[in-house]
């Protein structure tokens, strides 16, 4: 049995607007191994959320669509599945939690109802057994008094509690893959740490794979095994977390690491990457990071650099082959 649970190959996702078509993800390829956590890191607009929604085939229609590529789950292409087959995978084999716990729960249904729904749908469990399983999950995500929780409405809960409920909902059907789209961004720092801890424990205990999306390299360092850095719709660097943090090859990754507050160095002051990510409408020719890159040369504007494997398991999309980042 292959060790790869999920693999995307050359995934391209587009969005239509009034006059133009914008490619939000452009040739994204990555692998998620069984029982491992892949972090995807990038600024907003880098295409990381779009990539995760594509895996669920939940790109907002009719403006967004998947232009091409493959998403292999257990070696089967999800893009070739019918909507009905896809529904059997969503919430069952692949579950997802979102950035906004405050708005991700339906305000007019009780927690128990929203939790139990997926269980009933995918495993046909209803009634008392359904409630029991829901309570079990709530306990697992460390919610005190899970019984009472089932009869509460989302507006009665704090953000952290809601995110726990979302996590309980996601793991209820024992998924093989969980996609976590910035699950801690909207939370306070202390709650953030608790939720991360919880996710890590659950992942170990249930041998689940996680695709963890965030803009925060600091969070990635805590939870991920491997990490892919996305910039303007493309993966620009991918490596094991420790490798990437120790010896980043892409100038953009270097910039991100410098921007982590823990790496604050009084000698240089607070460092951030100058400039802004190019908007998808006016993507520069060649390397999309070149306009902000301190090492850019005329070569960079010519063509999009290929993703090159510099060391085993460490790839980078930069013509300097990592020399720029050193």
């Amino acid at each position: 049995m292959s060790n790869i649970l999920l693999e995307t190959k050359d995934l391209r996702v587009c969005f239509k607007s009034d006059a133009s078509v914008v490619r939000a993800a452009d040739g994204v390829s990555f692998q998620v191994e069984r029982g491992k956590v892949l972090g995807i890191v990038g600024e907003s607009g880098s295409g990381k959320s779009v990539t995760s929604l594509s895996v669920m085939r939940l790109i907002p229609k009719p403006n967004g669509y998947i232009e091409g590529g493959q998403i292999l789950f257990h070696g089967e292409d999800l893009l070739r599945k019918s909507e009905k087959e896809m529904r059997r995978i969503r919430g069952n084999k692949i579950a997802m939690i979102f950035q906004e716990p405050m708005s991700s729960l339906n305000p007019v249904f009780k927690i128990g109802e929203q939790l139990g729904e997926a269980l009933k749908l995918h495993q046909g469990i209803s009634g008392k057994e359904n409630r029991r399983r829901c309570m079990e999950m709530l306990e697992l995500v460390r919610i005190a008094d899970p019984k009472k929780m089932l009869d509460r409405y989302p507006h009665e809960l704090s953000g952290g509690m809601r995110q726990r409920v979302m996590i309980a909902m996601a793991i209820l059907c024992d998924p093989e893959l969980m996609i976590a789209d910035e699950p801690t961004t909207a939370l306070d720092v202390t709650i953030q740490a608790q939720i991360l801890q919880l996710l890590r424990d659950l992942q170990k205990k249930r041998e689940m794979s996680i695709m963890f999306i965030t803009h925060d390299l600091g969070v990635i360092a805590e939870i991920a095994d491997r990490v892919a850095v996305m910039y303007a719709g493309r993966i620009v660097e991918e490596a094991e977390v420790s490798t990437l943090l120790r010896s980043p090859l892409h100038p953009y990754t270097r910039g991100l690491i410098d921007a982590i507050p823990e790496n604050y160095d009084p000698k240089f002051g607070f460092r951030s990457i100058p400039g802004m990510q190019p908007s998808a409408q006016n993507m520069p020719q060649g390397c999309s990071f070149a306009p902000r890159c301190a090492y850019a040369c005329s070569e960079c504007g010519r063509a999009v650099p290929e993703l090159v494997e510099i060391q085993p398991g460490h790839t980078v999309r930069c013509i300097l082959g990592g020399k720029g980042g050193m």
Partner: protein
Amino acid sequence: MTRYLIRRLAQSILILFCVTVIVFLFINLAPGDPYTQRLDPSVSAEVREEMLQKMGYYDPVPIKYFKWIRDVFRGDFGYSIKYKKPVWDVICERLPNTVLMGAGALILSTAIAIPAGKTSATKRNSVFDYMGTVLSFIGISIPAFFFGLLLIKWLSFDLKIFPISGMVTVGAGYQGWDFIKDVAWHLVLPTVVLALLQTATLMRYTRSSMLEVFDHDYIRTARAKGLSEAVVVNKHAFKNALIPIITVLSMQIPTIFSGAVLTETIFVWPGIGRLSYTAILDRDYPLIMALLLMTTVIILLSNLIADLLYAVIDPRIRYE
């Protein structure tokens, strides 16, 4: 929830008080006071004077108001000038006919507009959506009475499918089941005409309300659970979209009364809409005021029911 409802109830009572004051002032400012109208014109001047005294004709205005309100609470709205009998009796004869037509129109429009609005929203920019939008534009733009006249001309005069007017076939003397069928047959066109505007309005609101709900994160959550599109739309989205829909539905009640005036007039339907119109032409003030007061109370009640329904649907209001 109790606090919320009590607040709403208090507001309604305040409005009702203002309405009664306005209606009362109308009565007393209108030419032809309601007191002398009640008297038998053949009695002598002294008896007349004495009776006026007893009825409170010479009381100061606030006392008059108080007495009037007391009478209204007893169901005594005075005598209709034209029909020569208690206003309450006149209204009671006609009210069920309007309720029948209004309820029919409300059910018909809801049954069409909500599914159509939902489909329009889920299939946004489809042919169905486009047709629905244009049709609802036609519905809000065509004068309802003109639409009714067209239907009478086309379906009643030319094709002779439906009766031209009235509520029963005159002189047929139907009994039991035949009578019900006869009334139902007469009811079709007025109900359709009355329902037209409601359907168009409600459909537009349902569509936009659903579209707004679709943008929320919890809809994505529901899809991510693997729920079918039907469950996502009909359960998760619709229950949230219902709140503005209920607002519109409750606002339809006054429109139904307004629409009833014209619809009942062109179809010669013996309801309170046409009664209001003729009462106004006849300057039958006691009757006009009773009708105004009653319709206002019905409107206030429907608003209160809407408030109650909000609380049932939306837990955020319930626990306020």
